[in-house]
């Protein structure tokens, strides 16, 4: 869902701008032009369609020389564009500068040349950019990148490749510290670091890891009829994507038209029980494969914005969208006008995300807002979470859709402290994100303008919060960025030298920090699964529009999916604005449904669409839980709020099976466990008020982690076992 003008703008003039944009796009086919590009170009040409088309053709022509009247012209254009990026002397002396320096240089260049239009930037993006994850995968396989072959690719790619390598070394190696007995790391176990955990007696991680492989047969998981056997010989759609990503970058695989599955590393299946009952996708994916190969996939990443109310989250996100070109200046000026009219002028940027009447009137985000933007290196989905305590359940659903968390804190003396005390949401949000499996957090120390960019204040917050996030909450990777959302300082562009108070800061901007954090998806299963965040019934149509996140696998139009509660398969009519959707991406799907499905409301926020009908509906299950601060201990029979994604239910504690803390575990052997108090970790039996799809983490991490709430407080986190 891009921020479309027609969604936001009431036209007062007669000129149909949408149509003009469409005309431009269709006139330029088969060159792919984004709406923003077209609009920017139209804006520049004062909405003269023909002029805009010819300008665009000149700019983008190099991609498809056959469509361009004057190829030499486009070539010189191309060279110019390259020069903008790389100063010539560095081009030759590659060895002298580190890739990061080159990157910074080129960014500075960009800023010094404001004439470089959005369209130029957009067209640069369109060039051969290898995906970060493909590089990571190559690294993982220890395939040496052959220098001589890289020279065959145009020099832009080389730089991009080195950028990618930098971020690779930044984000890939997990720093795990398990030295603290009270950390939430027990629930942050990803499959990668499971193996590397030091199983010392005092480490909770060790205890959990030793029992993670416990079979699930003793719980009532299999209420689902067994499906046909899998044909493992065929490449699964995800393997196909992966392979395509690899060939997109591996130079010597050019021209290879068939993917040899045997060479593609298939992640060891830890989920045999589930796979046995899984029906494989029988649809032939070779067409999709070709499409994939012809496309350059940019890595995508979702991040959720969390933090105390009024920290400036919505404003900062509005700023990000504006400066990355996802929000047209026209829309913004409309917000400015309207918010001023409503007497809320300081919220003009926040209005990009706060869309409902209630949110705008109260100046408070209520539900998750979703928006997209792209940078040179990656495409991002922002999930702006509500900061208010009452809306924590909505915030939880945002976290479950995201790869990383961006915590926004107000640097103002009083505000920071109030957000950081126990009932402040800074703490609760951070703990929630960690409990739901996030191990990486970026902290934007915001509203630095109110502090006159005081370095000491920044360092003070950094050390206080850093300590808390690392030691108490257990994040393994924490990065800090000072920003001002309202003034746009250090958001997408480095701090301008005019702001002399801020000269001390030379680190990356918020956008750069985000780019460095792009991760590859972490689900081990390849089955297409999609978590619905919203579903809209279209009146008088036999379709249903759902938005959400692809948890794993890949799907395109024509594929069919299952959804619990619906007996027949549903066909995907279309993936909106895209040809396909793959793991980690947010997307809007249009499903063909009949009246019954529509009326039953069977597909709703929280529903899981899955290519295989193998997901178990569970009512009673075992889980490992970790409790935080509690006023009321948990005894059997306690009823708690259960939150997982959009799922919001009541769960009853049936039995406390064992304590998992090292120090209490020994104790509990001789004593009856009567209650779970503050900080306890335990294996428990839980019962949901109505059955829900839950899986152990090995099948699907997103469907395994949950948080527990009581009386409006988050009191614990857990993982299904």
């Amino acid at each position: 869902m891009r921020l479309d003008d027609d969604d936001l703008y009431d036209y007062d003039d007669e000129f149909d701008e949408d149509k003009a944009i469409e005309d431009v796009i269709s006139a330029l086919k088969p060159i792919i032009v984004s709406e923003i590009q077209a609009e920017t170009e139209l804006d520049k040409a004062d909405w003269d369609i023909d002029l805009a088309i010819s300008n665009l053709r000149k700019k983008l022509g190099k991609n498809k020389p056959s469509n361009v009247a004057n190829p030499s012209d486009s070539k010189s254009n191309n060279i110019k564009a390259q020069k903008k990026l790389i100063p010539p002397q560095e081009d030759q002396g590659k060895g002298k500068l580190t890739p990061l320096q080159v990157l910074q240089k080129s960014r500075q260049e960009k800023n010094e040349k404001p004439k470089l239009s959005l369209a130029d930037l957009a067209s640069q993006r369109k060039r051969n950019i290898p995906s970060l994850s493909s590089i990571k995968k190559l690294k993982k396989q220890r395939t040496p990148i052959n220098d001589s072959k890289i020279e065959n690719i145009d020099s832009n790619s080389t730089i991009n490749a080195s950028k990618a390598e930098i971020s690779f070394s930044n984000s890939w190696i997990p720093k795990i510290s398990y030295d603290l007995s009270f950390s939430l790391d027990s629930f942050g176990l990803t499959l990668d670091n499971l193996a590397s955990i030091n199983t010392s007696a005092s480490s909770l991680g060790g205890i959990i890891s030793s029992s993670t492989q416990k079979s699930m047969t003793d719980t009532n998981y299999f209420e689902v009829p067994k499906q046909a056997q899998v044909s493992f010989g065929k490449p699964s759609p995800d393997d196909v994507v992966r392979a395509a990503q690899e060939t997109a970058f591996t130079p010597n695989s050019k021209g290879k038209s068939e993917i040899n599955v045997k060479q593609t590393p298939i992640i060891p299946k830890k989920t045999d029980q589930f796979n046995e009952s899984k029906e494989s996708l029988t649809v032939d994916k070779s067409g999709l494969l070709q499409k994939l190969q012809s496309l350059q996939i940019k890595p995508s990443c979702s991040f959720v914005v969390i933090g105390h109310v009024d920290a400036g989250k919505s404003t900062l996100m509005g700023r990000l969208l504006l400066e990355t070109g996802s929000l047209s200046p026209k829309t913004v000026s409309k917000f400015e006008r309207e918010s001023a009219k409503a007497g809320k002028s300081s919220f003009w940027l926040a209005w990009a995300l706060d869309a409902t009447k209630e949110e705008r009137e109260r100046g408070v985000t209520v539900d998750i807002s979703e928006a997209h933007f792209e940078t040179d290196l990656a495409s991002f989905t922002v999930l702006d979470a509500p900061g208010h305590k009452d809306y924590v359940p909505n915030m939880i659903s945002g976290v479950s859709q995201a790869d990383i968390a961006l915590l926004v804190v107000d640097s103002d003396i009083n505000a920071f402290e109030s957000g950081f005390t126990l009932d402040g949401q800074t703490k609760e949000h951070a703990i929630l994100a960690r409990s739901l499996g996030m191990d990486h957090i970026i902290v934007a120390v915001n509203k630095m303008d109110t502090q006159g960019w005081n370095e000491e204040r920044y360092l003070e917050i950094k050390s206080l919060l850093g300590d808390f996030l690392r030691k108490k909450v257990g994040f393994s990777k924490i990065e800090f960025v000072p920003t001002s959302g309202i003034q746009g300082t250090n958001v997408a562009h480095p701090i301008s030298p005019d702001i002399t108070e801020a000269n001390w800061y030379s680190g990356p901007t918020l956008v750069e920090t985000l780019e460095n954090s792009v991760k590859s998806e972490s689900e081990t299963d390849n089955t297409f699964r999609f978590m619905v965040s919203n579903a809209y019934v279209e009146p008088f149509q036999s379709t249903l529009t759902v938005t959400g996140r692809c948890i794993s696998g890949v799907a395109e139009a024509g594929d069919s999916v299952y959804c619990i509660g619906i007996t027949q398969r549903l066909e995907i009519k279309q993936v909106a604005n895209k040809e396909f959707v793959c793991a980690g991406e947010q997307a809007e799907l249009i499903l063909i449904v009949d009246e019954q499905v529509k009326n039953d409301n069977a597909i709703k926020p929280g529903s899981i669409l899955s290519a295989a009908n193998d997901l178990p509906l569970v009512k009673t299950f075992e889980a490992k839980i970790r409790l935080f601060d509690l006023n009321r201990p948990i005894i059997p029979g306690a009823k708690l709020g259960f939150h997982m994604g959009r799922v919001d239910k009541t769960v009853k504690v049936l039995k406390i099976l064992e304590l998992l803390d090292a120090k209490n575990a020994a104790d509990s052997k001789s004593r009856k466990i009567r209650h779970l108090g503050r900080g306890a970790a335990a294996r428990v039996e839980l019962e949901l008020d109505t059955a829900e799809i839950l899986t152990p983490p090995a099948v699907c991490k997103v469907l395994s982690r949950f948080v527990l709430r009581l009386d409006g407080e988050t009191i614990g986190g857990g993982v299904v076992c």
């Binding site: 869309a355 109260r362 539900d367 807002s369 006023n631 201990p633 009853k652 009856k672 009386d711």
Partner: protein, 377 residues
């Protein structure tokens, strides 16, 4: 409950004549009547065993063999053989009596134990009763419930899907929310008696409860719904973190509500339960649950407050019931507090799931160690 006649013998046996007043009294009767009791009430019966034969009203006495309680309908059905001579119904015929509000009945017991007397007294003590209606809601989920002295009853659950916000077009969401409020509004007169009730509490997260209240009043105004308009002062808006039932007690923390609940059974139960949890959380070894532990504490005369749920006494196993009656008597005779929790209240339900028996001690005591020592002996 109206007590009309009480005729108890030295040995504890005897007959009581009572008239239950409302659904709640039927619940109390459910706790009081046991298998083996003899109950007399007016009932109807087909005298001829043929199709279409008329049902005749008559008074029958039965010896109770089976008990069925229906909370929703507020009825208690007692099944057994007749024990009185009746000109039309031979002795030892099978019959089912249905007890309901306003129906007079006689109950004979071989032994009126302290639990039965306690429940009877609770039922007759109507001075402190305070019936409150509560609506807890979050977008798309609402529970309309009744909190009375002895029970919390969900009168209606409303669950609808409300589309989430969509950029630029929120009409779908706003329409659905209005429809949802309207559904609640229409349900209110059907499930709550606005005249009898002391207060109607509307609680939930964010601005939802306030919006619901406004919508209710607007609708009542435009429809000239007098009962609702007249009850306007009884409506209270409060905060709760969700629309689930487990958030109800948060809503009842509201100051005004607390005042009117303070002396009720519900108020006492909640207070003691809070104390129990606090003690457990502090790990001060003063809070214990489970029949063996509590029995031990009672033996040691260390109990400050004994907590039992009514469901314990409904056990058809006479020995079980005797065991708990003995605990009850022992603590009461020491002059300490005994509370019978209604298993239809949240705290009683919670207590029920940890065996239904718990206690708070006067001083810390490690009952685990006690049992270890015993084992060694």
């Amino acid at each position: 409950m109206r007590l009309i006649r009480k005729q108890l013998e030295r040995d504890g046996s005897g007959v009581l004549t009572i008239v239950p007043q409302d659904n709640e009294d039927i619940w109390y009767l459910y706790n009081i009547v046991q298998e083996g009791d003899e109950v007399t009430a007016i009932t109807s019966r087909k005298l001829a065993n043929e199709k279409g034969a008329p049902r005749v009203k008559l008074t029958l006495q039965i010896k109770v063999a089976k008990i069925d309680y229906d909370a929703g309908a507020g009825t208690l059905r007692l099944n057994g053989r007749t024990t009185n001579d009746h000109k039309d119904v031979p002795l030892n015929s099978f019959h089912t009596l249905q007890l309901e509000p306003q129906l007079k009945c006689d109950i004979y017991k071989d032994e009126w134990d302290s639990f039965a007397i306690n429940q009877l007294e609770e039922a007759c003590d109507i001075a402190n009763r305070s019936d409150i209606a509560a609506i807890v809601l979050q977008p798309g989920l609402a529970h309309i419930c009744l909190v009375t002295d002895a029970m919390t009853v969900i009168r209606q659950k409303i669950e609808v899907t409300i589309p989430k916000k969509r950029r630029g077009d929120n009409s779908g969401m706003e329409k659905a929310v209005q429809k949802f409020y309207k559904q609640i509004y229409s349900a209110i007169p059907k499930v709550i008696n606005l005249e009898k009730i002391k207060a109607v509490l509307i609680a939930g997260p964010g601005s939802g409860p306030r919006e619901l209240f406004n919508t209710i009043m607007q609708l009542a105004m435009s429809e000239e719904n007098q009962p609702v308009l007249q009850a306007r002062q009884k409506f209270l808006v409060a905060h709760a973190s969700s629309g689930h039932m487990h958030s109800l007690h948060e809503a009842l923390q509201d100051k005004q509500i607390q005042e009117s609940l303070a002396n009720t059974r519900y108020g006492r139960e909640t207070r003691v339960m809070d104390k129990f949890f606090k003690s457990l959380n502090d790990d001060d070894l003063k809070a214990w649950y489970g029949p063996d532990e509590v029995e031990k504490a009672v033996d040691l005369q260390a109990v400050e407050t004994l907590m039992l749920t009514d469901s314990l006494f409904r056990s058809s196993e006479l020995r079980e019931r005797k065991r708990y009656v003995a605990l009850y008597d022992a603590v009461r005779d020491l002059g300490k507090e005994v509370l019978i929790f209604s298993s239809l209240h949240q705290s009683g339900e919670q207590l029920d799931s940890v065996s239904g028996v718990a206690c708070l001690l006067m001083y810390p005591l490690d009952l685990d160690e006690q049992s270890d020592q015993e084992n060694e002996n």
